[in-house]
């Protein structure tokens, strides 16, 4: 089979690219491969499936009609085992080959396992695909207790979901630092930690797991100080890595992910990458870093699609100016929301930074009410924020960060009333002032 555009992966990045390609090119053949045998869905929804907040039938991002209307050949339940950039072909697990003119790798990420002895052989659970979610739900049906390893987003979501199902949940993390260490600083992490403890989740920080053993509802988890947790299920949420093992020849430049430029192009001609799998420019450091979050995935996918379909104006501008054009990637900014037990929180940009050298940090911490607000400034520009149970528009703050808007004299007022002031600043900046001259 031969196709003009081939997209591996069918989540936010892949779909966003397909949309953009179809805006530019309605005729070129477009094939999309999904390793799962279902319509496209977002991995972000999986914890909510486990929690029972939403049913499996309601989560699909596109329907059959979409693929028909947009003339997209959607291959489901097929796994890519090899990509050969020399011959412009990919090989699927059923042995078939697909030749492409332009390839987008949007395969996302897969769970990593810590090198804990016995873990690999034990019947542990992860949460990255629909199948994983089903397995967790199945295991939870007959379980009384669960051990959750890792306090990232997956671990925390899983702990809450299982706790709500009535299981005794032991949450284990190897290091001292608080929960959700990639997004929340110590103070806010402690607040979140406390809410989980209050809701009956047993949090074991600074407890390195030394051994996991057992199968089928009967497992034993041993930690460093010798304590043994006997449990019915083990969920591992200790991190993810880019899913890119199909590049067998080392021609595409790889780091932690697939290295891409600001048009999402890899080091090899006619191959693009977007989403969790891509390692693109970071907004602050301007170095190539992974930023595996949903909002970035669709943005990268869109740029990749535009670049693949080849809007001549954009490509030319990028080639000739050699730097950012309006529609190239502005750099990834870390951002996320985390809602737990009726509380809501978000973390944006350089949220982990503490007061030092260039940065000025303003905190408001009301632990008894579980309210936390942190604003990080570099000079008079907002570069990071954390909020727990405060009324602020994260999207507006995000745009203040990304546009590097100078607060000037408004800074003190901004710290005082971030909600109104941020809206006002964005108001000034999103509307061009109508200037009339002769």
């Amino acid at each position: 089979m031969q196709t003009k555009y081939l997209i591996i992966g069918s989540s936010h990045a892949g779909l966003s690219a397909a949309d953009e390609i179809r805006v530019q090119d309605q005729k070129g053949t477009l094939t999309m491969i999904s390793m799962e045998n279902c319509l496209p869905y977002s991995p972000t929804i999986l914890p909510y499936i486990v929690e029972g907040k939403v049913e499996e039938k309601d989560i699909y991002l596109r329907d059959e009609k979409y693929f028909k209307d947009n003339k997209i050949n959607y291959l489901r339940g097929k796994k890519v085992i090899q990509v050969s950039t020399k011959t412009s072909k990919v090989t699927l697990d059923d042995g078939s080959e697909i030749g492409y003119k332009k390839l987008l790798v949007a395969t996302g990420s897969e769970p990593t396992l810590p090198p804990t002895p016995g873990l690999k052989e034990s019947s542990h659970l992860v949460l990255r695909t629909m199948e994983d979610a089903r397995k967790i739900n199945q295991a939870a049906q007959n379980a009384k207790s669960a051990v959750v390893m890792g306090t990232g987003l997956v671990g925390m979501h899983a702990a809450e979901a299982l706790g709500k199902k009535g299981l005794t949940v032991e949450l284990i993390r190897g290091r001292r630092r608080a929960v959700l260490p990639n997004y929340f600083d110590n103070d806010s992490g402690d607040l979140i930690h406390k809410v989980f403890v209050d809701n009956g989740i047993r949090c074991n920080l600074d407890h390195q797991v030394t051994q996991v053993e057992g199968k089928n509802g009967n497992l034993k988890v041993t930690v460093k100080d010798g304590t043994v947790f006997e449990t019915n299920m083990v969920v591992v949420g200790t991190g993810v890595k880019s899913r890119m093992n199909f590049f067998t020849t080392p021609d595409v430049e790889l780091g932690e992910g697939i290295l891409v430029d600001n048009m999402m192009r890899t080091s090899v001609k006619n191959v693009w990458a977007a989403g969790d799998v891509a390692q693109a420019t970071d907004f602050f450091s301007q170095k190539k870093e992974l930023n595996p979050i949903l909002p970035d995935a669709f943005e990268q996918g869109k740029i990749a699609g535009l670049s693949m379909a080849g809007d001549p104006a954009v490509i030319l501008a990028f080639e000739e100016i050699g730097r950012q054009v309006a529609l190239s990637y502005p750099g990834g900014v870390s951002m996320n929301t985390f809602n737990f037990y009726g509380n809501r929180s978000f973390a944006l940009g350089l949220s982990l930074v503490e007061e030092k050298d260039d940065y000025e940090v303003h905190k408001k911490n009301v632990p008894e009410k579980c309210i936390y607000q942190k604003l990080v400034f570099q000079d008079d520009v907002l570069v990071g924020a954390i909020g727990i149970n405060i009324t602020i528009d994260p999207g507006v703050m995000m745009n203040l960060i990304r546009r590097g808007i100078h607060l000037n004299k408004a800074r003190d007022e901004f710290i005082e009333k971030p909600l109104d002031m941020s809206r006002r600043l964005m108001w000034n900046n999103w509307r061009g002032v109508v200037k009339i001259g002769r």
Binding site: H12, Y48, P295, T337, N339, V396, W427, I436
Partner: protein
């Protein structure tokens, strides 16, 4: 599928911060007096005086839709509304990360996000906004209705860049349809394309080129002839202010008085722009033209303009209205009424049409010039129907902007002193006062007095 959508327009400069919109929204959306439920939010509580509401913009490419992992947000292709499905939403609030406009936000009282849905096409906030800072613009509907209709003008026009006439003639002919006969007396329009190039006309309807002096009488004859042979055609004249108010006035006045069944549109660009920008009867006081230059002896036109629409109103016309293309919804409504009226008697439409070349302003500002003329009450929009006998403002301006904001855009007024501007302001104020008096007392009373 439509190509344009109706929009909720915010005019922040008119907002007085009263917060009625929030109260109305909370009431209609959540049956609550707590404004936390409001989908539209005032920016307030800041030291300086600054007001203005923020509300969902119903983006063309909504970030919130794209970042929703649960497919709970969708853009409705028919209405353009970004719709939120409560049953699918998992309250992850990732949508709020993408929105730079505070269009979708978390409401802790109901533990979900909330957003504006235009109340299904009749927004409650607009109804309660006294200073008219909120407006529900249905001009998209006009474009969706007109878009599929046949464009009866040629693809190429020879107008000056930025000329307002193109949008005017295309919309007019589209609206009136192919059963139209067009009279285009000397002026910009025949040269632009209505009469055409060599032997071909630029229109797809029969058009002819009467003299400046006999437009209305020739057209009246054409209409009578068609009527006699049993064909119902719309007799349309597109004349300039010279062809209507000055040179063409005798035949126009006669035809109107006789109640000829024609639709006469005066495209008023306040001068003889086609022949080199000479003054006309509708050129306003102080305006530079090539025959009223600015120098040591003369400071533009020394006389005031005559107000043609009211003169026509006194001709017992079926329908008289003033219009601009900047308010397209209003323009099409009036075209429709004028079209119907022209089957019963004389219909007169006076369209204010700025001239980028003769008035000296940048070509991309034609629409803005019209808007400012309307909001400063320089060119009030009204209509008169004989069957009701009433004059009615169709776009009342309660707090008009100073006329200076309109004058400042135009090179032809560049030399004006404060006193001269004050004179123009007084002229505009007097005119609006007179129109309001007619509106209040009725046209018949006015005729009785005069």
């Amino acid at each position: 599928m439509p190509t344009a959508y109706n929009t909720l327009v915010v005019h922040p400069e008119k907002c007085n911060g009263c917060g009625d919109c929030e109260i109305a929204c909370a009431k209609v959306k959540a049956d609550s007096s707590d404004v936390a439920h409001s989908r539209i939010k005032m920016i307030k509580g800041l030291g300086e005086e600054f007001f203005g509401p923020v509300v969902c913009m119903q983006c063309g490419e909504p970030n919130c839709v794209k970042s929703c992992p649960a497919h709970a947000l969708t853009k409705n292709p028919d209405t353009g509304i970004v719709e939120w499905n409560k049953d699918r939403c998992v309250s992850c609030t990732i949508c709020t990360l993408g929105c730079p406009y505070s269009g979708i936000y978390y409401n802790p009282l109901v533990s979900t996000v909330i957003k504006c849905d235009h109340c299904g096409g009749d927004p409650e906030c607009v109804k309660v906004c006294k200073p008219k800072a909120l407006e529900y613009s249905v001009e998209a509907t006009v474009y969706d209705e007109q878009g599929p209709l046949e464009d009866l003008f040629g693809p190429d026009l020879a107008a000056c860049m930025g000329c307002n006439m193109e949008i005017l003639v295309r919309h007019t002919l589209r609206h009136l349809g192919p059963d139209t006969v067009l009279a285009a007396p000397p002026g910009c329009l025949p040269g632009v394309c209505a009469v055409g190039f060599n032997a071909a006309t630029g229109t797809q309807v029969p058009s002819f080129h009467p003299l400046l002096t006999n437009t209305a009488s020739m057209l009246a004859g054409v209409r009578r002839y068609y009527k006699r042979i049993g064909r119902d055609v719309t007799a349309l004249a597109l004349a300039g202010d010279g062809g209507a108010a000055d040179v063409g006035f005798q035949s126009l006045s006669g035809a109107a008085e006789r109640g000829e069944e024609i639709l006469f549109v005066c495209i008023d660009n306040e001068g003889y722009m086609n022949t080199g920008m000479q003054r006309s009867g509708t050129t306003p006081f102080g305006s530079w033209t090539s025959t009223t230059p600015v120098g040591p002896n003369l400071r533009g036109k020394p006389r005031d303009a005559k107000y043609m629409p009211l003169i026509m109103l006194m001709h017992n016309c079926e329908y008289v209205a003033t219009a601009v293309t900047a308010y397209m919804d209003d323009f099409h409504k009036k075209l429709e009424k004028a079209h119907q009226a022209s089957k019963r008697g004389f219909a007169y439409l006076h369209v204010f049409s700025p001239c980028t070349t003769g008035w000296r302003y940048p070509g991309d500002k034609s629409i803005e010039v019209q808007r400012r003329a309307v909001v400063s009450n320089t060119f009030p929009l009204w209509e008169y129907e004989r069957k009701t006998g009433k004059l009615r403002f169709t776009h009342p301006v309660d707090n008009p902007e100073p006329i200076g904001s309109y004058i400042a855009m135009l090179g032809k007024f560049r030399h004006l002193t404060k006193d001269e501007i004050a004179h123009l302001q007084k002229t505009a104020d007097d005119r609006v006062r007179m129109l309001k008096a007619i509106e209040a007392s009725g046209v018949e009373t006015l005729k009785a007095v005069s």
